[in-house]
């Protein structure tokens, strides 16, 4: 069959456009990294990476850019949020995949979807309405602490709820990829359902579970608006969960307005974005890699 010339040209055009788009996608991380590095390099040429990462001294007007307190804030909030989210997600994922009847799952699916779709600014508003007063008036007094409520723990709780749908979805998928026959094999050896979950399913799913948490962690690390709204934003190395914090994304978001008026400030903020990008990419890479290996093994 001969192909008409018009058809031929259209085909050529489609193929070329498809290739351009693919190339764009594959190059995007490189472009992102390069773009950020390009801006941050000004700062890096004056200071060593080590002093930038581990100095507590943050005085933009004096050209002192030490990211230590921001990095530490980010770590506190991220790790704390994962600590809250992980057990809840794991328990719920096991329940939904192993015990729950299918109508419970049908009910929970939209719940997870909607939670995942709620914009981060709404989580922030909710944090201000519910979590911040809850901490100021009820939780902090339990520990004899006086606080406005705008604290690391508030950020961590809001963040934990935000990443629950994300982590839970991955965990459900991880447990669902385990073949039913493995469960049946364990059951027919006289193990109870719970023993099967504990000794067989959990072990089989372990790499997948770790990856899910890793992905959750990197999602939490980069989250901006919701955390920024409830975390207090005070430049200080945090010493406890009832103190305000100032994570990296909040630093960028809060200061973009004035960054052009102070020399090097824009370079410092791009440096913060570069740190975020690199950390998140590494975490994502490790987790995704592990999860692919996990799926291949099954």
């Amino acid at each position: 069959m001969s192909i008409k010339p018009g058809r031929n040209i259209r085909n050529r055009f489609h193929n070329i456009w498809m290739l351009i788009c693919i190339l764009l996608i594959v190059l995007m991380p490189v472009i992102l990294a390069f773009g950020l590095y390009f801006k941050a390099s000004l700062l890096l040429s004056d200071n060593s990476v080590f002093s930038l990462l581990f100095s507590k001294d943050w005085q933009p007007s004096k050209q002192n850019f030490g990211f230590y307190s921001f990095i530490l804030s980010s770590l506190w909030i991220t790790i704390l949020s994962l600590a809250i989210c992980a057990p809840v997600c794991l328990l719920s994922a096991i329940y939904l995949t192993q015990y729950a009847r299918s109508n419970v799952l049908k009910l929970m699916h939209p719940v997870i979807d909607i939670l995942a779709g709620i914009p981060s600014v709404i989580y922030g508003v909710w944090g201000i309405i519910v979590i911040v007063p809850l901490i100021a008036n009820h939780i902090a007094p339990l520990f004899d602490v006086e606080t406005s409520g705008y604290t690391i723990i508030a950020g961590a709780i809001v963040l934990a709820i935000m990443i629950i749908p994300f982590v839970l979805n991955i965990l459900i998928e991880v447990f669902n990829t385990i073949p039913e026959q493995l469960t049946e094999a364990s059951l027919s050896l006289g193990a109870s359902k719970w023993e099967t979950i504990k000794f067989v399913l959990f072990r089989k799913a372990f790499p997948g579970i770790i990856s899910a948490f890793g992905l959750g962690l990197s999602r939490a690390f980069g989250e901006t608006i919701a955390v920024l709204m409830v975390v207090g934003n005070v430049v200080k190395v945090p010493k406890g969960i009832f103190q305000p914090g100032y994570p990296l994304p909040a630093l960028i978001a809060n200061n973009y307005g004035e960054m052009m008026s102070i020399p090097m400030y824009d370079s410092a903020l791009m440096m913060a974005a570069l740190i975020l990008f690199v950390v998140v990419l590494l975490f994502n890479f490790a987790s995704r890699f592990a999860i692919t290996r996990f799926e291949l093994r099954i």
Partner: protein
């Protein structure tokens, strides 16, 4: 010859939702013989097998009626410990599903679960059952390696050893050779012929020739019904039902 009936399936009906999968099943399975449940795919063989150790429990919307007597006890009615019932039966599935642990722990799993934790006892048992499944020679120097490092044929024998280790009375096998190469299949079949002096074996297959090779007793199923059952010899040489004759002549598969 021992001609005791080990399992007596009495008027069993099973449906999932609105699908009627097993229809009025009446089967007698003799002790210490190989009973082959034969039939084309999708006729309910596997489901019937799962009824025997109540793996059907974990399905939703499932409805089982009738009686299944094992050692004269109705296992469908008993509310006792279901894990005890399951321990009486070793299960071998279509593909080997080794547990995510070492070769040693795979065999010791059932024993550990039921509280036998003495190291020396476990060592002895593991060796014994690996030998019984003809796997000891290939694995005695790598017992701590993950079970997934074995070949598929070895994995299936490991699954057999693991099933034997809980000291069952019955072995349930669901097309246990379908994922194996011809040599491994032969090894498994020979194992079964050897093991039938100790165990009652129920084997599901759709391979006619396999049934001819090892069956003492045949249950032929088609579309959820038992068409014909009886000793293998008379089944193959002298079938009574039209559908059996058609099946044996290769009319459907």
């Amino acid at each position: 010859m021992n001609n005791h009936t080990k399992i007596n399936i009495n008027n069993v009906n099973l449906s999932i939702g609105k699908q009627h999968i097993l229809k009025n099943i009446n089967v007698e399975i003799p002790e210490k013989k190989i009973t082959v449940i034969l039939g084309p795919s999708g006729c309910g063989k596997t489901t019937l097998l799962k009824c025997l150790n109540r793996l059907t429990d974990s399905y939703e919307d499932i409805n089982v009626s009738g009686n299944i007597f094992i050692n004269n006890k109705d296992i469908l009615k008993s509310n006792g410990d279901i894990t005890e019932l399951r321990k009486k039966m070793g299960l071998l599935s279509q593909r080997p599903y080794p547990l995510p642990m070492s070769i040693y722990d795979n065999v010791a799993y059932g024993l550990k679960i039921s509280g036998r934790k003495k190291k020396r006892f476990l060592n002895k048992r593991v060796e014994h059952y690996l030998k019984q499944a003809s796997l000891w020679e290939e694995t005695y120097d790598r017992l701590k390696e993950p079970a997934s490092s074995l070949s598929i044929g070895q994995q299936q024998r490991l699954c057999l050893a693991r099933g034997l280790a809980v000291d069952p009375e019955i072995i349930l096998a669901d097309e246990p050779t379908s994922a194996l190469d011809p040599l491994s299949s032969q090894a498994i079949e020979e194992k079964f012929i050897h093991l039938k002096q100790y165990y009652t074996i129920v084997l599901v297959t759709h391979i006619l020739r396999q049934a001819k090779r090892i069956a003492d007793n045949i249950v032929f199923m088609y579309l959820g019904e038992v068409i014909e059952q009886g000793p293998a010899e008379s089944f193959f040489n002298n079938p009574k039902m039209e559908k059996t004759k058609a099946y044996l002549s290769g009319a459907f598969n």
